[in-house]
Subunit: 145 residues, 2 copies
Amino acid sequence: MDQYLQAALDEAKKGYREGGIPIGSVLVHKGKIIGRGHNKRVQEGSVVLHGEMDALENAGRQPASVYRESVLYTTLSPCPMCSGTVLLYGIPKVVIGENRTFMGEEDLLRSRGVEVEVADNQECVQLMQQFIREKPELWNEDIGV
Amino acid sequence: MDQYLQAALDEAKKGYREGGIPIGSVLVHKGKIIGRGHNKRVQEGSVVLHGEMDALENAGRQPASVYRESVLYTTLSPCPMCSGTVLLYGIPKVVIGENRTFMGEEDLLRSRGVEVEVADNQECVQLMQQFIREKPELWNEDIGV
């Protein structure tokens, strides 16, 4: 597996071990990970810190030029909030672990010129499937269902 | 002015007094404010806590049914991140103080069935104009420019 997607998956697994929602993300600027994160709904009672948002938050305040040269890696297809955030900051590329368990706003991203790559990684799929089986209500809450 | 938009403006002014970006928001459920917030870029070094996001975060974890009966008030037209969050949680209506200083994703919201109301409030416009005059770089950073 790509090393950055692996780093995002490591974050997702950390979230799973914490009893949280196992979605992880890293923000990569010119080959260097500048932010790592995972969903914090359970751990911090947060409704905005999805994995992608947490990675961006942990990267801290960056000039627009940095976002414009960055790639966001996420284990799961990004929801409307996280996709909107990609658009806000002008992140030009998103690499997605899988979109079988949840299909996010990939079409919207592509329609705005964002490059979207789907790895269709089995380990990402299995982790989400296991979580959704175990805690379906928590998953629904996270996606507003 | 509508009492809820006034509450959002009060949040924006609080942010201004703190040296932050003066955008405020409240989430209203069945006539009751359940979350208040303002942009926290300066105060908390946050890249995700726009006014709307802060209001949602402060409302805490809510079931989908609550979001579906809520109205989000914000002093400024919501950016892609905040608009995406409205879509994620299925918030059916957004009331916007003004969209003269910044035009957000109102068309996207409407295209997904969200009711969008623009108050075109002069006090909201003046507060943003004053802030953008005083701190243009900070404003640009907040909208990824």
